[in-house]
Structure formats: structure tokens, C-alpha cells
Symmetry: C2
Subunit: 421 residues, 2 copies
């Protein structure tokens, strides 16, 4: 599934076992009150509801849906995007076209919806309360464009809602007879991919969401069985040294993991960038890279720039596609023939190893997460690994990992600015 | 075209005019020897050759080309990707499908080439020397898949080369009778978008490359006419304070500018992440964000996390698409009605302003670049602005902005690893 290894053991030595155990105990306690911990193991009813909906809904089941449009931003879209990007080459994925309406950029909205027709499209509006201004504005746009009015009875067949139970959006949906799925209680947006927020769209796209949850559940068990103290040490090291290493880089060696790094960036940035109890601005700045592409973009800075970054590599051990570099010689470029006959994936993974070894030799705090292969189980495990790591780091910073008070001020400013107009 | 404004004037006061003038003089001197400075004004022959090629090549001219496949990585692809992403909604863009073959990820390569046929596809291999291992490997893959052997005479019609004159790749192309375009002398990969590297594919896609160069040339003139000292001050501030503000964020308020931020990340990271003459690791870490999406991902960290970031906003003053948020009220969500009737673009731009003002109030070094609209001229100007800013910052660090010695070690390691197999 996934395995991990740290390459900065020496640096970790000052961390006391007792500190690790105390932090572990705090996480064991926190899991009683914070919703995301329960998702891998307590989602059977949600999953049943989702499959019941899909099976009973002819339009989805019989392949009549061409487009799935998700109206949501931030935590409401990044998780689904991450999983779909990671697994879109797998056999489970059907050919429904997935469209994310997130940004109020008129060019993008116009391009994404061109060619979309209401009769073969399912719209899902995802918002905890319904008050996210982008999502609500785009929902209004979609309703006007495809259904004319909000009272149109066709809305009931084509427009679903995922929200918190009894939120304003839920109450609206109830009154208008729209199908609703609920986010499990006390689950924040950026921790919600394993709730209905991610599970419903991913199931519609054909993915095995039970396997996704199973991967997360297995990693959860391993963690709470006290088998993953290494990741607690890693989090403690990051937090103890956040002024020396303010930046954490996630370097994923597969284009398929591109959006998973974007999901990690939100999780890490919004959870850990906080004012702590002493009034200090703390946090770690996340950067997502894709190998080998970003060896030609960012690696120079890691190697020769300021030594202010820790780096986590993600590697996929086995790709099912074994396309080869053919035995062709390009005259004058014979020196590139040393890779002839190799699988593309072997070259990619050798690049990952070469870069990792280079950074280890430069004394950069490096670790690696290896996925056996790209499938629902390994991605579920990776997601839960990062949710746990974030929770642990937040606890070590002694901050509230689950709020985002810093963005409220800008929202008020926006309201003042526009309500004047 | 573009206009700029700094919001940290107070902080800039200690910078002496004489320091600004000295740096300006150094850049005036450097432009004699570094190739990218000349591209906006000295590319008439390249442009003529490109249009002559397109006009004389029936397949391109008569709309018989469905796919344009670019084989290149890093500086060979990021610039074209940035411009195409920025302008793909414009009327100039034809409907040729643009495919980037960069990463040796077998799933991605398989997906990108599925459905591609040699008879309606043009392949362009882009590499300064031809020895970039990803590009050469993928070129071999493409040759085997679509042409069987390298001697296939159809290769001459379908496979172009952009490279340095007299490079090994050039000599190969010459011997096999392949069409070649040259990168202007002394232009590094990440500064090459305004050379044949970007101009040839962009012209094939329908963009007005003369306008792109014109925008760059106008900004160049303004700079060398000594009208842009503010950007020298900004660069000096960044360099003087790189330990306090090690991170520079480019926050672009349009989904269309997503890939331009990726281009900036390479330019900034690879140019400025260097060991300086005293053996010190210097540089500034670039982060690209897209508004308003990343308000829901990264903004919390900027507002409440460590105060280690400067932030540059990019805003598009006028979008040609004036899609509106309809006057629809969603029951229970009436508080979102304050944006009803607004253009989507007005909401997007108000979000940009609200976020900028928030960060200014938090005493974060903030500036803004405003584009009149998204077109070839404004994007050309923005590109040249960033190339100049990078050159100035590199000069202020007193480093070699144009090399990348830090990535060689990993390349040797890869060779050792694989040539053993």
C-alpha cells in the first residue's frame, strides 16, 4: 500500500521518546472530537446511500450522464480533483466528463460549460453552509443558464447538494425537493475528501470508494496501533525547526499526483498557518512539485539556494503501463542511449532516486513515501497519512488546526466593497 | 498594456537612488552580452522565417494539422504553455490541439497520445543541445510509435527541430533533412519564450507573435528609457531582505494565468537559487497562486502564518466576456445576493482588491501588476517585465543568473545508476 522512510535520522536524535508518546496520546484524545478521524471506518451508511442513489438513478446508472459538474471551491473540490487525477488512467474510471466550476473567471466558466447540455449533465453543489460566494454565484449562473428559474421541476433530477445537515443550503434543498448528501459532523472542508464531498462524485465516476476508505482505514489502524511513530518524529522535527526550515516541499514523481500536491498545499497551509497561543505567527509553507518535470524548474533552488526546505518524495513503485524507450539511436546524440530499452517508468523512478540521493548528500531533511501502485487503496492511505501528519503538526504547534480565521477579514472587505455598488 | 504599483513605499525609503542607478547601469551593460534582452527587438528574421514556413506548409496552413505535439521540458515548454493558457480564449487561437510531451510518466504519455495519428500531427522537438534525457527518450518513443524508424522519409514532413545552431541535435537534423529553427545565440531555456522556442508553436496556434514581441519591446523601451526604476527598487528590496522574506508569491487573479505563474516559478527559482561569490546559498523561493481559488487554500497562511512572504498580485482590468451573476435568490441564502447582477469579472476583481487591501493592512510587502486585458501585447509585456526583474535581482545578488550548476550532479547520478543496468 504505502511505506515511508526518513533520511534524516541523525537530526531526529534530540527528539525524546516521551515527547513522541505525549503527542501520540494527544492525537488519540483528539480523535474523539474531530470528525475526519472517523471517516475511514464509520462511513458505511454514507457509502450505502451513495450506491443506492447511483443504482436507483437511471440517468447515472445507465450511462446517460455525460458530464458531472461540481460547484465547489477549496476543500469542496481539491480532494475529488486529487483522487481523479491520480487514478484517471485506471480501469475503474468511466468516461463521464468531470468539470469543476470553482473560479468566477468568465473565460474559464464559458469554456468549461461550452457544449454542456442539461439533459445529460448532473450538477452537484458542494458547500458546508452555502454561503461561499463563488459557489453560490456559479450555482445561480448555472441555474439561469440551464434551468431558467429555480422553480424549474427539472432541477430536482439534475441538481444535487452536499452540505452540512440543517445548514441554510440544506434547508433550501429540502424545501425545493432536491436530493441532499450530508458531510459527516465536525469535518472541515479540507479534511472532507473521505466524506460524501469526495465519495459521491468519485463513486459516480466509477471509482471503488470502499477501497479508498479501506486504504485509509488500514493506515489509520497502523497509526493507532502505535506503528507509525516515525511520522510523529518527522512532524515534531518540522515544528521544532520551522524557523530554520520554513518550507516543506512535496515532490511527487508522477504527473498523476499533480493535483494531490495541490490538495496537500491547501491542507498544510490552511491548517498550520496560524497565530499560536503566545500570539506568534507560526506555520510551514507547502510547495508541491512534480518529478521529473520540476527538476528542470525548481531543483536548482533546492540544491544551491537557501537551505530552508525539507523535502518529501512520493514514488510509485509499479506502473501498470510498461511502455519502453525504444532501441533507437539519434545520430550525434548517442550519449543518451544508456536509457534505451528501459521502461519509461524505470527512468522516472531512477530520476526520483537520483534526486533524492543528491538532496540527502546535501544534508537536506529528506523522506520518501512509496506507493505500491496507483489504486484506490494506496491513494486512500496517502490521503489519511497526510491528514494525520497535519493533525500531528498542528498539535505540536499547539494551534487550532481546524479553523481559518485569517480569511474572514477579506470576506467582510469584499462585502463592504460590493454592497456599496 | 501593463501598469505596476508598489504598496510598501515606506519600507523602500532606505534604498538609495545611487544604488538604483548603479544597478540600472549594470543591466544596461549586461544587455550587450546576454541574448534574451535582444529578442523583443531583433527577432524580425525569426518571425519572417516562421510565417514563411507556415504559409508554405500546406498542412499547417490549410487546417490539416489537428495536433501539435511539443517534445520539450522546462524552459522548452513552460513559456509556450504560459502564453497559450493566458490567451486560449482569444479569437486568434485556432482549434489545433496542443500536446506537451514532457514527463516520462507512462500513464500520461499513453493518455496524451491516444487518438493521435501521424498524418494530421506535427511534432516539434525542442532542446538546446538535444541531450535532455526526457526529451530525447520521448522523441525516440514518438519516432518508433508513429514512424517506425528514424529513416522514414515521412519524418521530414512531420518532425521539426528547435535547437541551438550547430548543436548535436542540429547536426542530426541537417543530416536527415529535417526542418530546423534556431534559438537566438546566448539565450537560456527559461528566457527563451520570445525566441523560436515559443514563437514557432504560438504562431502555428494562430497567435499574433508580432504583437507578443511588440508588447515586450514597448516594456523594454520603457525600462531602458529609465522609466521603470520602481521595479529596480522592488528587486533591491527583495534581495536586501531575502532572509526576512525568503518567499515571493505571485497571486494571479485569472485562471488563464495559471501556467504563467508556473513559468515564473521556473524563471525565478532556477535563476536566483545560487551560491554567491562568498559561498553563501542565496535566492528567493517563488510560489504561484491563482485567485480567487487559492484564497480558499493558501491565503490563511499568508495572513496568519510566519511573515516571510512578499506578494505580487496580477489583475486583468478588462475581461471581454461579460457574463453576469443572475438576479436569482436562493432561499435561506439571501445574504449572498449582494453580488447579484454583477459581472463575474467584477466579482473576481473585487476579490483581488479585497485580498490586496487585507495584506497591505497586515504590513506585508505587496505590489500589483495590472494588465489592460488579456492579449498578445499585454502578455508580451508581462513576460519581459519578469525576465527583467529576474535579471535585476540576479545582478543585485551578484550571482550568475543564467546557469544552473546545481542540477548537473543529479544527472551524473542518474547516468551512473542506469548505465550499470
Amino acid at each position: 500500500m504505502i511505506s515511508t522512510k526518513l533520511f534524516f535520522e541523525e537530526a531526529l536524535k534530540p527528539i525524546k521518546e516521551s515527547e513522541v508518546e505525549t503527542l501520540f496520546a494527544k492525537i488519540c484524545e483528539e480523535q474523539q472530537s474531530i470528525g475526519f478521524y472517523s471517516l475511514p471506518t464509520d462511513s458505511a451508511r454514507t457509502v450505502d446511500n451513495i450506491y443506492k442513489f447511483i443504482l436507483s438513478n437511471n440517468a447515472v446508472y445507465k450511462g446517460k450522464i455525460k458530464n458531472l459538474v461540481l460547484l465547489g471551491i477549496g476543500g469542496s473540490s481539491l480532494g475529488t480533483k486529487a483522487v481523479d487525477c491520480a487514478l484517471k488512467h485506471s480501469k475503474n474510471r468511466n468516461d463521464i466528463n468531470l468539470i469543476f466550476l470553482e473560479n468566477c473567471d468568465p473565460n474559464e466558466v464559458g469554456a468549461l460549460l461550452s457544449g454542456v447540455k442539461a439533459k445529460d449533465t448532473l450538477f452537484i453543489m458542494i458547500s458546508k453552509s452555502g454561503s461561499t460566494i463563488e459557489t453560490t454565484s456559479l450555482a445561480k449562473y448555472v441555474i439561469a443558464k440551464f434551468f431558467k428559474t429555480i422553480e424549474n421541476p427539472r432541477l430536482k433530477k439534475r441538481f444535487l447538494i452536499i452540505t452540512d445537515e440543517d445548514s441554510p443550503l440544506d434547508r433550501f434543498g429540502k424545501e425545493f425537493g432536491l436530493e441532499r448528501f450530508y458531510i459527516a459532523p465536525n469535518v472541515g472542508g479540507r479534511f472532507s475528501v473521505l466524506s460524501a464531498v469526495g465519495l459521491l462524485p468519485l463513486a459516480i465516476l466509477g471509482y471503488d470508494i470502499r477501497k479508498l476508505l479501506l486504504g485509509a482505514a488500514k493506515f489509520k489502524k497502523s497509526f493507532f496501533d502505535a506503528n507509525e511513530f516515525e511520522m510523529i518524529k518527522k512532524a515534531l522535527y518540522y515544528v521544532h525547526n520551522y524557523e530554520k526550515y520554513p518550507i516543506n516541499v512535496l515532490f511527487s514523481y508522477s504527473s498523476s499526483l499533480d493535483k494531490l500536491t495541490a490538495w496537500y498545499v491547501q491542507l498544510w497551509a490552511e491548517s498550520l498557518g496560524k497565530i499560536d497561543k503566545d500570539g506568534k505567527n507560526v506555520g510551514l509553507t507547502p510547495i508541491g512539485l512534480v518529478g521529473s518535470v520540476d527538476q528542470h524548474s525548481f531543483l536548482q533552488l533546492i540544491v544551491e539556494g537557501p537551505k530552508n526546505k525539507s523535502v518529501t518524495f512520493v514514488k510509485v513503485k509499479e506502473f501498470k503501463n510498461n511502455s519502453k524507450i525504444p532501441n533507437i539511436t539519434i545520430k550525434n546524440l548517442e550519449k543518451t542511449d544508456f536509457v534505451n530499452g528501459l521502461n519509461l517508468a524505470d527512468l522516472l523512478n531512477a530520476q526520483c532516486e537520483a534526486t533524492l540521493e543528491t538532496l540527502v548528500e546535501k544534508n537536506i531533511p529528506v523522506d520518501i513515501i512509496e506507493l505500491d501502485t496507483l489504486n484506490e487503496e494506496s491513494i486512500g492511505a496517502l490521503i489519511f497519512y497526510y491528514e494525520l501528519l497535519t493533525a500531528i503538526a498542528g498539535k505540536a504547534f499547539d494551534i487550532n488546526t481546524y479553523d481559518q480565521p485569517g480569511v474572514e477579514f477579506g470576506k467582510r472587505k469584499l462585502f463592504e466593497k460590493l454592497s456599496k455598488k
